[in-house]
């Protein structure tokens, strides 16, 4: 960098010199090894304070308030008391069921696919990997458009003609709680299968080959190798996938939105974030919406801790 600014002609030589010395001092501080990291981190800290820290604190405060334009009133726990209503429980139930099914599907199946793709004898690996990964590139909205076309109510649509081939009656897919859940979980499974598969594949490739060779010399069969080498080595990846699936499940919004926006018959498509969105943005109930948000945060935090505890990552049996 160039340290010299053009000399200021209006000042006396001595004051000019003094200014310059002060300037260099500041500049030296700015360029010092001690200060540089703070300069690098500063924009992050500003954005964090403004767009994360402040909103979190604000959500907590608003959840104890009734927020109306121009006047805000502290109403204690009344927003939380209002949570005890059938709509909220329906949203909680839908979200929990959805999370449960995504975990049941999106862990074993991707693991199985990853194991097959990692096998020595499998052919055309790159091709299959690419095919299975491609749905992850679509947005939930585009995927939703496709699902609504395939699972429309008419008998000629793909979904109904498929089940009618096996002798079942056509179904109004979006109208029933069970089939809607199938559509939402199916949509998520279609988009995430490839992503989770890649995670497991990375985990598999990190297992040292010597482990298997040593086991073979000791006379281990395929099942033994899988049970005592593959599974333990995959544990960190599995915990990671479980965590993100759990979090994504409870944060779910779009997979429901593409089918019913936020107003479904009997709230069969309402999720916690959908409820927050509806109350906060459509009915302008900022205080109550915040209470939904805080509850969601608490649920996610508790489940996260339980999950990490059970899988032994955190405060458990000292596994690594």
């Amino acid at each position: 960098m160039k340290p010299n600014s053009p000399p200021n002609l209006n000042r006396s030589p001595s004051s000019n010199l003094k200014m310059k010395r002060n300037g260099t001092k500041l500049k030296n501080i700015f360029y010092s090894q001690k200060v540089a990291p703070y300069v690098f981190v500063l924009p992050f800290l500003l954005i964090f304070t403004g767009f994360y820290l402040y909103p979190v604190v604000s959500t907590f405060i608003m959840s104890f308030q009734q927020v109306l334009p121009g006047q805000t009133e502290f109403i204690g726990l009344r927003n939380y008391e209002r949570l005890f209503n059938p709509t909220f429980f329906r949203a909680l139930y839908n979200t929990t069921l959805y999370t449960f099914w995504t975990i049941v599907i999106l862990i074993p199946l991707p693991l199985l696919l990853a194991i097959i793709l990692n096998s020595k004898v499998t052919k055309y690996k790159t091709f299959f990997r690419a095919c299975i990964f491609i749905p992850a590139l679509t947005s939930t909205i585009v995927a939703g458009v496709i699902f609504r076309l395939l699972f429309a109510e008419s008998e000629s649509a793909f979904g109904n003609s498929f089940i009618m081939f096996f002798g079942f009656d056509p179904v109004a897919w979006r109208q029933n709680a069970g089939t809607l859940m199938f559509l939402m979980v199916g949509l998520a499974a279609w988009r995430w299968m490839g992503v989770n598969m890649i995670y497991f594949l990375t985990g598999l490739q990190n297992i040292p080959k010597e482990m298997y060779e040593a086991a073979e010399i000791d006379g281990a069969n395929t099942f033994n190798k899988f049970r005592h080498i593959t599974l333990p080595f995959l544990k960190p990846v599995t915990v990671y996938v479980l965590t993100i699936t759990l979090f994504a499940g409870y944060k779910m919004f779009e997979e429901a939105y593409v089918f019913w926006e936020v107003n479904s018959p009997g709230n069969i498509g309402l999720t916690l974030v959908g409820y927050l969105y509806k109350e906060g943005f459509q009915y302008n109930q900022l205080g109550f919406g915040s209470a939904v948000g805080v509850t969601l945060l608490i649920i996610v935090a508790i489940l996260g801790l339980i999950q990490l505890r059970l899988t032994g990552v955190f405060g458990g049996k000292g596994d690594n």
């Binding site: 960098m1 360029y31 010092s32 090894q33 540089a36 990291p37 690098f40 981190v41 924009p43 992050f44 800290l45 954005i47 964090f48 767009f51 994360y52 402040y54 909103p55 959500t59 696919l113 004898v121 499998t122 299959f128 095919c131 299975i132 990964f133 491609i134 749905p135 590139l137 679509t138 939930t140 909205i141 585009v142 939703g144 458009v145 496709i146 609504r148 076309l149 395939l150 699972f151 429309a152 000629s156 649509a157 793909f158 979904g159 003609s161 279609w190 890649i198 995670y199 990375t202 993100i244 919004f253 779009e254 593409v258 974030v273 927050l276 943005f281 919406g289 948000g293 969601l296 945060l297």
Partner: protein
């Protein structure tokens, strides 16, 4: 001999087994493309059958996207602008933080790392209500800035850059210092070029994320001319709409550019994803 034959058979069996998920993965996209070639008025009501019906094929739906009355390419432009700037800004700030966490020892370092982890744990959806009020106060509702601002801190990216920078030679920094290079000169002239693969991998992840991002733009963007592609397309999903030509052809054109990039840069996509899963 017997072993060879067994391997051959199991390899055929595995391929057959892999064909099923591959078809399930690709078929819906093929079906969408097929739908985009058919007249779309009745499509949403009657759904999509899988018969090709060649006699119905035309490019009319695509042609409609290019007519004057269509707002589709306005959405396309909005999506490109928002994705471009949020990706560039997130890459710049995240790489600076990740780099300084890896290369320097400074007071408060653990706190910064803790904050990064904390953001990962807080669902963004919870912050929306206060953030939206803040956007009203800032006058950023219905602007690109409003969408981009909260997106420029991305914890996973910070983490990835930290891991990547830990593997860079620290001796280079001392050598550069002796040659009179400033700390910022070291970062921009030496380290940024060395971190190019990290910029590539994270750039793809961030661009894909903001291209498909839905909830926050839905909250901030209020008028049709400011919508991004997902918001605009979602608005056409109503069963009473009559814009299914835009919806279906538009959906194809939304995914197509990404699939093309993916085919040529598969490796980067996959390494950007595994960034989170690999322990450092």
């Amino acid at each position: 001999m017997a072993k060879q034959r067994r391997e051959k058979w199991s390899s055929i069996l595995l391929v057959v087994f892999l064909v099923i998920p591959a078809v399930i993965a690709v078929f819906p996209l093929a079906a969408l493309t097929l739908a985009s070639l058919k007249p779309s008025t009745e499509l949403m009501r009657f759904g999509l059958n899988i018969y090709p019906q060649f006699e119905l094929w035309s490019l009319n739906n695509y042609a409609y996207l290019f007519t004057d009355g269509s707002i589709y390419f306005r959405w396309f432009k909005n999506s490109i602008i928002i994705s471009f700037f949020s990706t560039i800004l997130a890459l710049t700030f995240s790489s600076m933080v990740g780099y300084s966490l890896a290369m320097y020892r400074f007071r408060g370092q653990t706190i910064v790392l803790f904050l990064v982890l904390l953001i990962m744990m807080i669902p963004f959806e919870i912050l929306m209500l206060p953030l939206f009020r803040m956007m009203i106060a800032l006058g950023a509702v219905n602007t690109y800035t409003g969408v981009i601002l909260p997106m420029i801190v991305h914890p996973l990216t910070i983490f990835f850059f930290r891991q990547f920078a830990l593997g860079l030679p620290k001796d280079l920094m001392d050598a550069a210092r002796i040659d009179g290079c400033t700390e910022y000169g070291i970062f921009f002239k030496i380290m940024v070029p060395l971190m190019k693969p990290a910029y590539g991998a994270m750039g793809i992840l961030l661009a894909l994320f903001s291209w498909n991002n839905f909830l926050w733009p839905l909250v901030v963007l209020r008028t049709t001319d400011m919508f991004t592609l997902p918001i605009g397309l979602a608005g056409l999903l109503s069963p009473y709409g009559n814009n299914y030509d835009v919806l279906i052809a538009g959906s194809v054109l939304t995914v197509l550019p990404i699939i093309i990039v993916f085919i040529f840069a598969q490796k980067y996509f996959i390494s950007s994803l595994t960034a989170g899963a690999v322990k450092g």
